[in-house]
């Protein structure tokens, strides 16, 4: 399902030193916050939940957005995507190859900081494992969604930001029903079930989280590939 050349080109083209710094900034801030809060208030379940929630609903989607748009939206913007598309290669292979790079990059920059942050806050290894896996689950879904966005609109970054802030952030916090359709909540459900926290009463449950992630990911990637088959080169205005 992947093409080694596309993976190689994507890595070389998408991730320069500057982008890596952007990707690194938020996770480092989160770690700094975890260390500060822990040293100020000690182990406190409320503070733990606040900090790791910040990791899963802000840091993770932001990094995933930068990671996903780096692998596709930038090539769509400058038109170099044409060199990939003018080839007898299945569009789904192109999408999946880029997706693999996006997930890998996002995971590299989010899994360990969020897991480490959870471990620092909660002071146990189960939290570290739980939040590590939860973050990975979030990477898988977010990257697929943002990749799809990159094929649907030329303003993928703005659309992604709106989605994260309004759906995942605002509505996800206000309306409890949104949790069934919120990647951040799925990640949290898996994380808390493993970390053996006081499981939130309104959690959607780990099984649902994993299945929902799988469904969303497959659907988003399939749609993205189909959109790419209908890719238009902008003609003269």
């Amino acid at each position: 399902m992947t093409n080694a050349t596309i993976v190689r080109l994507t890595v070389r083209n998408g991730f320069g030193a500057r982008r890596a710094l952007i990707l690194l900034a938020l996770p480092l801030l989160l770690l700094g916050l975890a260390i500060t809060v822990r040293s100020l208030v000690g182990v406190d379940p409320g503070a733990t939940e606040g900090v790791v929630a910040l990791g899963l609903t802000v840091v993770l989607p932001m990094v995933a957005l930068v990671g996903s748009t780096s692998v596709l939206a930038s090539e769509v913007d400058d038109g170099s995507i044409v060199y990939l598309l003018a080839k007898p290669i299945s569009r789904h292979v192109i999408v999946v190859s880029k997706y693999v790079v996006a997930v890998a990059a996002t995971a590299v920059f989010t899994v360990w900081p969020i897991a480490l942050g959870a471990a620092i806050m909660a002071g146990d290894l189960a939290s570290m494992l739980g939040y590590g896996l939860g973050t990975l689950l979030g990477c898988i879904a977010y990257c697929a969604i943002f990749l799809l966005l990159s094929t649907v609109t030329r303003h993928a970054v703005a659309a992604g930001l709106l989605y994260v802030l309004i759906w995942e952030g605002l509505l996800g916090g206000l309306l409890s029903g949104v949790r069934w359709l919120s990647v951040g909540h799925w990640a949290q459900a898996l994380a808390t079930s493993i970390a053996d926290d006081v499981t939130l009463s309104e959690s959607v449950g780990p099984a649902y989280a994993v299945i929902a992630t799988a469904v969303v990911t497959v659907a988003a990637l399939w749609l993205a590939g189909d959109r790419l088959r209908s890719f238009r080169l902008t003609g003269e205005e």
């Binding site: 093409n3 080694a4 050349t5 596309i6 190689r8 080109l9 070389r12 083209n13 320069g16 400058d78 038109g79 170099s80 044409v82 060199y83 990939l84 598309l85 003018a86 080839k87 007898p88 290669i89 299945s90 569009r91 088959r229 209908s230 890719f231 238009r232 080169l233 003609g235 003269e236 205005e237």
Partner: protein, 304 residues
């Protein structure tokens, strides 16, 4: 033989028509797609290369629709107008990547051949970001030629080239056309098309305005007067004879020497002129069309 066929193709964006009911067949050899900016050339190239769906009509390559048939890219090489390529790769890495994406058996060998064709060996190991416009154009050509496509489509390939690079590209396109490939390139600059293309398709304001070789396009415009500069050893007498024939409708004596002649019937004029001169024992020193450039044909078509 590979043939690209457009059958009553239109393309509109909301209520703007970019391409209006175009029917053309593009066969082996070099075809120039000529037209001013905004005539719909890029839209047409996008339609032919499968990067745009026709709003109505069909675009087919040997019978297969181009839109949403990615397997056809085995036979199509596209040189897009935009310059962005993979800037942090070297020229050779870029072409090799294209060869690999085409799943060629020997990507390195194909890369070497394509780079040799465009004469980029001396700079093939430099990053594309350090290339001049002409070099970029050539490395894009190499990437489009690497899989030996039957059809090569180029969108404004001469843009930003200096005269030397231009000559090189002209030679290259001719050579590729002579190989029996179907080559189509767009241009708004007339002398480029005139120099390379055996066949010309003219687009004006989204419409297919004319088709044929330069002479054929010219002959289509029978109602259009042709202008000539004629110098002879007796201009004044020749002027009298010419105005006496119905193939001419205007003759002006130049202040220095020579005649400006406006002919209305090219076929007759070409036969009558030497006969008249011979009968009056006038020696023709020079007969030169003063508007026999694509530019004036084009101006005429655009004005029409």
């Amino acid at each position: 033989m590979t043939e690209l066929v457009l059958e009553q193709v239109s393309r509109w964006y909301r209520n703007v028509v970019a391409v209006n009911n175009v029917t053309m067949r593009i066969g082996p050899g070099v075809t120039g797609l000529l037209g001013p900016n905004g005539a719909g050339k890029s839209t047409l190239i996008a339609l032919m290369s499968g990067f745009l769906a026709p709003s109505s009509g069909t675009v087919t390559l040997d019978g297969t629709p181009v839109w949403r048939h990615e397997q056809l890219y085995r036979q199509i090489g596209l040189v897009p107008e935009r310059e962005a390529a993979y800037d942090n790769l070297t020229g050779r890495q870029f072409v090799t990547a294209n060869a690999e994406l085409q799943r060629l058996a020997d990507p390195d060998g194909a890369t070497a051949r394509a780079i040799a064709t465009v004469e980029m060996q001396p700079v093939q190991d430099r990053r594309i970001s350090t290339y001049s416009k002409g070099m970029r154009q050539r490395i894009k050509m190499a990437s489009a030629l690497v899989h030996d496509p039957a059809v090569l489509l180029l969108d404004e390939p001469f843009n930003g080239m200096d005269p030397r690079q231009r000559l090189h590209l002209i030679d290259l396109l001719r050579q590729i056309g002579d190989d029996g490939r179907t080559v189509m390139f767009s241009s708004h600059i007339l002398e480029e098309v005139e120099q390379v293309a055996a066949h010309i398709e003219v687009m004006v304001a989204g419409r297919h305005a004319a088709s044929g070789n330069f002479g054929a396009i010219r002959r289509l415009m029978t109602d259009r007067p042709n202008r000539y500069l004629i110098r002879s050893d007796d201009d004044r007498q020749l002027a009298g004879l010419l105005i006496g024939d119905r193939s001419c409708r205007g003759v002006t004596l130049r202040a220095d020497d020579g005649l400006d002649v406006e002919a209305v019937d090219f076929g007759r004029f070409a036969v009558v002129l030497p006969q008249l001169a011979h009968s009056a024992d006038i020696r023709l020193l020079e007969v030169r069309p003063t508007d026999e450039s694509l530019e004036s044909v084009f101006a005429y078509l655009v004005g029409a």
